[in-house]
Every structure is written in structure tokens, then in C-alpha cells.
């Protein structure tokens, strides 16, 4: 089966005053039709830059790219601006983290949706507005016809995110990229929005790329997961691979440090010591080694992303530990986690820009 979207060895660098910042480093993954792929990572992991690059939104005089992001027969990394304009909002739509600022405050929401429809399809204003109203109604905005005439500030955060979703769906995209779509929302609203994205995926069969820092969100909605750290993919696999058989110590730490409401309250919250490395001065070996309690000699050389059996195993990890050793070490105090030598860990490492 050919993938809907294939990202191959993508690399993104930005020239800054302090040097060249490699935000995305050799990232590869595929998104299948109707699939929900979660990309998880903390700030600086490169997950958002990856998504924005697929949309062609990171281009600029200080950016340089290599690798490919193939959509059908088009490589989005090298596509012309004209080609990208057709892809954006047409074949690939995107929703963003902060619905409070993602909509233009001076235009009515209906008009903002109409604008997108008319950019991609030759439809007259009235027909486009009827479509916009239908879409708003479909994503659960009450009195859609009336509300289409409202301005963004007249909506709550959750409702604005619904408007964003309606807008994203307006041209029946093949792919929906959702960059932290619920991070700025309240928890009850987050649950509603995630449910909405899940429903639309099933009904419309769009492939969804969900970018989040929250493994809980991933657990609820994703089919497959890519874990990113310091610009690289450190682990990739199915939902159960990542949650029940994680191979990379960073994934263990991440899973361990999410407070779990279904388990007993631990004495101390498990953490990952230290802070992520600066993307200007990356460690030469394994990028996670400085924070990893299990590092050993091999970690001074960069590990490759590999699976146990390339023939059958799509679960890959970027770690020097043998799989059976890893399986032994990833359990701390009965749950997945990373051992920590207590509270001296914080200040240490280089301050991040």
C-alpha cells in the first residue's frame, strides 16, 4: 500500500545569530489513508517544525531543507509556492494550538471559511457561505447560520477550535495536521474536541497527523506513534508498541512522568532529570544520553533508528541497549519509568535558548 504521505530523511535547519540550528534531523515516517498518527515530544523536539515544513510554512531566507515529504506525486519540500498554495488548505489542512489567536479578529468566521473555499474551488460566494454554515453545523456549533456572522472574539476557546476544524475540512482534505489542537483548551473541552476529530476521521477517512506533548491524548486517539527528541525520531511504533513495549529510555521517562489518575499516588512524581539539549550544540552521541540513567560507553556514538527484525517489525528505536536489557530496565518501582537521582538534577545543563 502506498502511503498517503511519506516523509523521508527530512532535515530542517535555520541560520540564527548564534549559529545553525538543526530543528529537524533525518526524520522519516509514513501516514496511511484514514490513519491517526501521533507525533509526541516536548518543546524543541522538532515536532511542530516537521508539521509546518510539510505545509511549506517554514520556508524563509534563513531556512534550508533536505529530504522529502511526498504527497502523491508531489514532493512538498521542493514544490513551487504555487503548487504549495493548492496543497495548503486543499489537500492538506492544518489546525493550530491556540484558537484564540489563529483566527483573524477583524473578519467574520463565516467569511474566513468562505475565503478558503473560494481559494480552492470556483464557487460563488453564496454557495460557499452555505457550505460554511453546513460545516459549522457539522462540527457542533449551534445556530450555525447566525454564528457564521459572528467575529472570533464572540466565541469561546472550544468553539473557536471547532471553527478551525470546520475551516480545515472545508475543502475535503486528504490529510489533517493538528498541532497541539487541545493544549490551550480546558480539559472538558479537550475531550470534546478530540472526540470530534476522531468522529470526522472515521466519517471522512482523512489521515490525521496529531502533534502533541501529551501521551494521554495519544493513548486516547492514535493508531501509531512517533516519539521525537531534540530533532530526531527516537522511537516509532504502533500504539501498543509504544505504551506496552517501549524501547527508548526517553519514552520510558515520558510515560513515567505523566501523572496517572488510575494508579495509586506515588511518593514522588517520576521525572526525567535535566533539560533537553540546545539544538545549536547537540551532543555528538546519543542526544538523550546526558539525561539517561542507563548511558554507557556506546552512547558517545550516535545510535541508529533500528528494529529487532527489519522484515517483520515496524517498531523501531534509537538506542544502544539490547532489547532484552531494555525490557528489564524500563520498569521502575513496578511501572514504566526512568530512574532519577533525585533533586540535584534541575539546574545543571546548559540553559536553552
Amino acid at each position: 500500500m502506498t502511503a498517503l504521505l511519506a516523509v523521508e530523511h527530512l532535515q530542517v535547519e535555520f541560520r540564527t545569530e548564534e549559529g545553525v540550528l538543526r530543528a529537524v534531523d533525518d526524520v522519516s515516517f509514513e501516514l496511511q489513508r484514514g490513519e491517526l498518527l501521533g507525533i509526541v515530544g516536548e518543546s524543541g523536539s522538532g515536532k511542530s517544525v516537521t508539521a509546518m515544513t510539510i505545509m511549506g510554512l517554514t520556508r524563509g531566507p534563513n531556512a534550508s531543507f533536505s529530504g522529502r515529504a511526498v504527497l502523491g506525486d508531489l514532493d512538498l519540500v521542493t514544490a513551487s509556492e504555487r503548487q504549495l498554495e493548492r496543497v495548503r488548505g486543499g489537500r492538506v489542512a492544518m489546525i493550530f494550538q491556540d484558537p484564540m489567536t489563529a483566527l483573524n479578529p477583524v473578519h467574520r468566521v463565516g467569511d474566513q471559511i468562505v475565503e478558503q473555499i473560494r481559494a480552492h474551488q470556483s464557487e460563488n460566494r453564496r454557495a460557499a457561505m452555505d457550505r460554511a454554515v453546513d460545516l459549522l453545523d457539522r462540527v457542533g456549533i449551534p445556530r450555525a447560520k447566525e454564528r457564521a456572522r459572528s467575529y472570533p472574539h464572540e466565541f469561546s476557546g472550544g468553539m473557536r477550535q471547532r471553527v478551525m476544524i470546520a475551516m480545515a475540512l472545508s475543502c475535503s482534505p486528504e490529510i489533517l495536521i493538528a498541532d497541539e489542537p487541545t493544549t490551550a483548551l480546558d480539559v472538558t473541552t479537550q475531550a470534546q474536541i478530540l472526540a470530534e476529530i476522531g468522529t470526522l476521521r472515521k466519517e471522512l477517512g482523512v489521515g490525521v497527523l496529531l502533534i502533541t506533548h501529551d501521551l494521554g491524548v495519544i493513548a486516547d486517539v492514535a493508531d501509531r506513534v512517533v516519539v521525537m527528541y531534540a530533532g530526531q525520531v527516537v522511537e516509532q511504533g504502533s500504539l501498543s508498541d509504544i505504551f506496552y513495549d517501549p524501547r527508548h529510555p526517553y519514552t520510558w521517562g515520558l510515560l513515567g512522568s505523566v501523572p496517572r489518575l488510575d494508579a495509586d499516588r506515588p511518593e514522588r512524581l517520576p521525572t526525567i532529570p535535566g533539560t533537553p539539549p540546545s539544538l545549536l550544540r547537540r551532543p555528538t552521541g546519543c542526544r538523550f544520553a546526558p539525561r539517561c540513567a542507563w548511558r554507557f560507553e556506546a552512547c558517545s556514538r550516535p545510535p541508529a533508528l533500528k528494529s529487532d527484525d527489519p522484515e517483520t517489525d515496524e517498531h523501531t528505536g534509537r538506542c544502544w541497549l539490547d532489547l532484552d536489557v531494555a525490557r528489564e530496565r524500563r520498569v521502575v518501582g513496578g511501572t514504566l519509568g526512568l530512574p532519577v537521582d533525585d533533586r540535584t538534577t534541575a539546574g545543571g545543563g546548559a540553559a536553552n535558548p
Binding site: 495548503r88 488548505g89 489542512a93 493550530f96 483573524n104 481559494a119 472574539h153 475543502c171
Partner: protein, 317 residues
Amino acid sequence: MARFVLRRLGSAVLVLFAVSILTFLIFEVIPNGNPALRLAGRTATPANIAAVERIYGFNKPVYVQYVRTMEQIFTGKIVSYATGVNVISQLKQALPVTASLVLGAAVLWLFFGIVLGLLAGLHAGSTIDTGISALNFLGISAPSFVIGYVLIYVFSFKLHVFPSSGYVGLADPLGWAYHLAMPWVSLAILYTGIYSQVLRASVVDTLNEDFVRTARAKGLSHRQVTLHHVLRTSLIPVVSLSGLDIAAVLGGSAIIIEVVFDLPGIGYYASQSIGALDVPPVLVITLFGAFAVVIFSTIADVVYGLLDPRIRVAGSR
């Protein structure tokens, strides 16, 4: 909306009251301010002066003089102490000249300010930006009378393409524009610089807004993003600024240009009256200026509200 405008007009009355008192008092305290001395003529005897003071009421307490003067202003009867000519009719003659100057120049500075500011903002950091900024600062820092005289020297005395002075009424539109072309340019250069810089900063801010990223992610063309999202939002500060600037120039700030090009406008009238320590015209012009500021800033605020729906509804949470 109506309530808002009424409130603003109410506050205008207070502003005018304060401005008139202040102007009146300034002339009361400056030395040699006694208009009776000049009204009585060069060879006046103290008795003449006293007589003049009595006729005009200069021997009365200040507040009585103030009330009397105000009464004359609002009944349109006020006359100049220096020339004896009715001030209101003078103002009516000067207003079209100044209005022509200001509105023409405003069209120029808004057009060029927006074009240059947008270009510089969209290409922030590039050579285009640096070049435009240099031009802007040149325009802002060059005194307008220098620009005016340079224009006169080049285009009137050397090339003989534009007249160096004079005003032709709108009855002859070509002559009107022909005579005003150089004054327009001289006045507009300063404001073009300012507006271009303001818009540039606003554009740079707007480009970083999330909604601009959304607009691009929607697949809009560069043109649509620039005009419909970036420019539309960036214009908001320019609108409120232009209200005040147009009002200020209308209220007499164009003095220098009017003097340089010999245009009998409000600024020219004001400069002559101030030179003659002639209280009535100065008072009338000052009041007119203050009134213009209030009116234009109210218009600017209403337009601001139309451009930015967020301020129409406050307190949304």
C-alpha cells in the same frame, strides 16, 4: 454608537472651554499685550488709550473680558484688534485654502506611507527595508521649509514648471492642483516618513500573528494574505494616527508651508495674528484647531471601531 459620539461631543465642549481660557490667559500675561496701545495708534495720548480701553472693555476684570470675547466669537461679531476686520469671515476665506492643502497632502502621504510601509514591513531586514527606512528618516528630519524652498528653487526658478506661490480656487481645478502640487509634496514628505515607519512596525507585528500563519495554511495566495489579512489589520494604528494629524494640520500646523508658498490659509493667518499680538484671531483659530482635533479623533475612533470588531464589544472573556 450614537451615545459614544454624543459623549465625545460633550467632552469637546469641555476641551474648547479649557483651550479658550488658556489662550486668553496667555495673552493676558505676555508683556506688551495690551491691545489698547496699538488700537489707539502711534501717537496716542494716555487719554486716548484710556478711551480705547473703555470702549473695548480692556479696563474690566479678566473674566468679564473673557465672557464678552466669547460672546462675540459665538455670535460671529468678533473683529481683529489690529485690522478691525471680522475674524470669522477671514477664517471662512482661509479655510478652503488650508483644507485643500491638507486633504491633498493627506491623500499623498497616506498613499505613499502605506505603499512604502507595507513594502518595508513585508521585506523587513532586507535592502528594500533599509532603503525605505533611510528615506523615511530623511523625510522626517528634513525641515519642511527647506524642502519647500528646494522645490521652489528647482521647479520654479530653474525649471519653471510649477508656480512658486499663490492659491487658485477650486473653480479652476487644474489651476488649483497646479498651484498646490509643490505645497502638497512639501507637507506630505514629513508625514509619509512617519506613516511609513508606523505601518512598517505594525506590519512586522502582524506578520508574526498566528492568524497570518492560518491564512497561509488555508492556501491563500501571497496577495490575498498580504492585502486581506496583513494590511487590513496593520492599518488600524494608522487610522487613529491620521485622524489626529489631519486635524492638527487643519488647525494651523501647516503654518510653515503656507508661509513658504504664500498661501493665504489658516496657518498664514495665525502667524500674522500672533506676530501682531492680535488676540481675537488667535483665539478663534486655536478654538477651531481644538474643535477639529476633537471631531477628527472622534471620526478616527468610529472608523477604528469599524475596522476592529474587538473594541466594539468590550469585556468579552
